[in-house]
Amino acid sequence: MSRFPAPARPLLTAALLVALATPAWAQSHAHGTAPAPAATKEAPVDPKVDHGSMDHSKMDHGSMGHSQMDHSTMDHGNMDHSQMDHSKMDHGSMDHSQMDHSTMDHAAHKTAAPSEPREPIPAITAADRLAAFPPIEHGAMEHAPEIHSMLLVNRLEQWDGQHGNGQAWEASGWVGGNIHRLWVRSEGERSGGRTEAADVEVLYGRSVSPWWDVLVGVKQDLGPGDSRTWAALGIQGLAPYKFETSATAYVGEGGQVMATAEIEYELLLTNRLILQPLLEATLAAKDDPCHGTGSGLNKVEAGLRLRYEFNRRFAPYIGISHERLFGDTADYHQAAGERARDTRWVAGVRVWF
């Protein structure tokens, strides 16, 4: 579309006519804007433009020598440019170097907008001022709450493994605004009627980018014989391709440093039947036989859960989960009579509030 205002378009048309005789003039005015046929077609958009009365005599083309042309009687209304073929025009050999546009007066090309409004701006009275800025009580505007919260019990399940059975959970919740949130996360496992391992984290989270939060806080282990407290620092968010991702480093008493990373994806078989692959890995910096922890990678858990969302808030699932211990961690556990690998069937519910 042309960047010229509608009243200028007939002039462009005229310019193209002139261009046939004097291509140099048109080169600088018509090129790169609207092709003439389109301009001609659209010209009637503004019925106010009267082409018959247009006065081109104010156009000063400087040294171009057109000053003798009288355009005032030209009637552009009936021109049909739709058949014009400009593709054969050769502008390549034109020499524009002598053109002096500095004296051209473009002001006459458009209808000048009035500087004063057509409808006058009303003068302000004292009553107007009073009505415009009435005294407003603080808090007169009610706002929707800015603090929200959510609790997601991502996994609450019964498991049946090769070496036993039990229950497990994984949940996270937040309360706060768009940027600052208080997070609570908990994970745990029960077997044979007793809690094997459990932890609770309380973290402050801050959005640092559209998709990532940085979290800092504490983790408390709650397992039998394990009540270690850790300082936690991590990130969580939605990675490209919509992978739910979290990675957290923990610094514990005695200088132990551990880290966990978790990636989750939602594969939609239908909009209610959702397959959720999950991968979780745990690492440790130091060997810690007392807690059955070897240095390096010590545990990987891979899960595949298929849930059905009866509604968004309530979705039962079934799935399979495989857990494997590595390195010294595996040895320590095997020495204690435990297995380094386990594959479990799981069934549970995913709910949120």
Partner: protein, 599 residues
């Protein structure tokens, strides 16, 4: 009259999806909860209600009482907020030039309330926005509105307090012109479209903040992917999924809230209730369409009838003959139809996401119904819709792959492309958008798109209304060139359900200051994938055409994704005015500014 007990353990179970979409045949306001001393409209629960004669209040002195009533649109009886016991609120019918006085009493138990006269030019203290125009109306109190009508046409009024509009507080406002209208008609009907939810609207907002995609049951699945692979080939299908995946967005996000939550109403009647407006064959019937929906765009057509649009947002336009129009929340369109040859025609108003519809009937007598058409296929957003169309900028999509991968932290942030297309502009984004966690995307190539029928309406074989096709019947009433320009970007984060201008939510935004008397230009750029109807109180929004000339006088400017639209504002109304997205939950989530016109 029947009285239903408040919902509780005895409430019927959740209605079926069909009942939800179609609504209850005998829906409507069941009973006034609060004895207001004013007549409360009630429907018999038994026996079909085929048509409802709306309350019409006219004359310069009007008394309105805002109270709580029970309504039943889905088979469940739920609380609603009504005016004089009516949902929609009574039609107010006034005359241009009259000075009207409206006493609004608050009969709600616990909440302050307000009424805003949408699109009406009036003193700031009559505008009805608590915190800007006045203090609101406390329970048990009343506010005396008084203003002179300087305009004519189809308008509406609604609450500007929290989510009361969603709960039912909206009504038509018709101002008859002093001079005869430039078109002839034999009879008229107001068609007020809206969206009803059985949920408490505050709870619905909280739900949006927890899981904004709650209602999107249309996300693309693995079978959809396999189908696309078969159809388009592996690389095209994976490239497409990859692009959306990198943006962490989904092309089926057409509307935040759809018919999984809403039942759509036409004049306060669900489709099953078959609201009916009468005509005699050969008559010219003026239909005054108003979108009083809180979150719903409607695509309206009357199969078998051409519609001639004669006014937009209350202001006359050059007549446009069309088959279908999209109406954004808060917009009004006056259309003339000449029904003949059939005894009944369906007014079919599907939501933009094609999840449900409102419907009514034009008929020669009550009890008739024409077929209700099937909903159109659900549209998918494209990169072009969202201002990411590299194709139109002369680039090959495949060649962009490496750039797109670098789009971490806001799609397009790293795409430094100049304007290649004729009208496509690579917007310069305000600094407040940079590194802002509340912005999940930015547009890369925007255009006014005034001639674009919009998502889901292109090439559907019907003549669809566009902003480009509508032109004010009058010349620019002000005439001045804008003396300055203010550019604002519509921004948001879908997942956080955070919405703002320039990435700054209302709570932390400074007012936008205009000088009394000035003519200025507002440039809006949509940096989100949603469509936003933007409403400036107190003054007109004079939409410009693609050449920057006065084009169409409106009070609400619709901003589809990927658009850059400009309009002129004549700051001739002193005071503090609200400026916001008219999607109610977007406004409450922060897409609002105060505009202060000062001397």
């Amino acid at each position: 009259m029947s009285f239903s007990p408040p919902p509780g353990p005895g409430a019927p179970p959740m209605p079926s999806r069909r009942l939800f979409v179609q609504g209850a045949a005998a829906g409507g306001v069941v009973a006034g909860l609060v004895a207001s001393g004013l007549p409360s409209r009630a429907f018999a629960a038994a026996g079909p209600v085929v048509a409802t004669a709306p309350q019409v209040l006219s004359g310069p002195d009007v008394q309105l009482s805002i109270g709580e009533s029970l309504a039943n649109f889905t088979g469940r009886t739920r609380p609603a907020i009504t005016v004089n016991g009516s949902l929609p609120a009574p039609i107010l019918r006034w005359r241009e030039g009259d000075t009207v006085s409206v006493r609004v009493a608050n009969a709600l138990q616990a909440h302050p309330t307000s009424i805003h006269w949408h699109g009406i030019l009036l003193p700031a203290n009559m505008d009805g926005v608590p915190g800007l125009s006045f203090n609101g109306i406390a329970p048990g109190e009343a506010y005396q509105y008084r203003f002179t009508l300087k305009q004519s046409g189809t308008y509406w009024y609604h609450s500007h307090s929290m989510f009361q509009e969603q709960a039912g507080l909206y009504g038509a406002l018709i101002i008859d012109p002093l001079q005869p209208a430039p078109y002839r008609f034999d009879r008229e009907h107001v068609i007020m479209l809206s969206d009803w939810t059985d949920m408490d609207p505050g709870a619905l907002f909280r739900r949006m903040k927890k899981l904004a995609e709650f209602d999107n049951y249309y996300k693309r699945t693995l079978p959809d992917f396999l189908r696309d692979v078969r159809r388009d080939g592996w690389s095209a299908a994976t490239a497409d999924r990859g692009m959306w995946g990198r943006m962490r967005m989904t092309p089926t996000d057409i509307s935040d809230i759809n018919a999984h939550t809403y039942t759509y109403l036409l004049n306060g009647t669900a489709p099953a209730g078959n609201w009916t407006g009468l005509f005699r064959s050969g008559e010219k019937v003026l239909l005054r369409f108003i979108n009083g929906g809180s979150m719903t765009y409607f695509d309206v057509r009357i199969p078998g009838l051409k519609m001639t649009v004669v006014a937009a947002d209350g202001q006359y336009i050059h007549p446009v003959s069309i088959d279908e129009f999209r109406i954004a929340p808060a917009e009004t369109f006056d259309v003339i139809v000449e029904p003949t040859g059939q005894d009944a025609f369906t007014i079919f108003c599907q939501d933009m996401g094609r999840t449900g519809f409102a419907a009514g009937t034009l008929a020669v007598r009550h009890g008739l119904q024409a077929p209700i058409p099937a909903r159109d296929p659900r549209p998918l957003l494209t990169m072009g819709d969202m201002g990411h169309d590299m194709g139109s900028m002369g680039h090959d999509m495949a060649g962009m792959g490496h750039d797109m991968k670098g789009m971490e932290g806001g799609c397009g942030a790293s795409m430094g492309h100049g304007a290649h297309g004729s009208n496509d502009k690579a917007p310069r984004h305000p600094a407040s958008e940079t590194g802002n966690p509340l912005i999940d995307m930015q547009s890369m190539a925007t255009a006014p798109k005034l001639d674009d029928p919009g998502i889901g309406l292109r090439d559907n074989g019907r003549a669809v209304l566009t902003y480009g096709a509508m032109r004010s019947l009058f010349d620019d009433p002000d005439g001045r060139e804008p003396g300055r320009e203010v550019e604002l970007h519509l921004t948001g984060h879908m997942e956080k359900f955070s919405w703002s201008f320039d990435g700054i939510p209302f709570a932390s935004a400074e007012p936008l200051r205009l000088n009394y008397g000035e003519r200025m230009r507002i440039v809006l750029v949509n940096d989100t994938m949603m469509q936003h109807p933007i409403h400036l109180h107190g003054v007109w929004s004079d939409l410009e055409n693609a050449d920057g000339q006065f084009h169409l006088r409106k009070h609400t400017i619709d901003m589809p994704p990927g658009t850059r639209r400009t309009y002129r504002v004549r700051a001739d109304a002193l005071g503090r005015w609200a400026y916001h997205c008219h999607l109610l939950y977007h406004m409450e989530a922060g897409m609002m500014r105060e505009v202060r016109i000062e001397e």
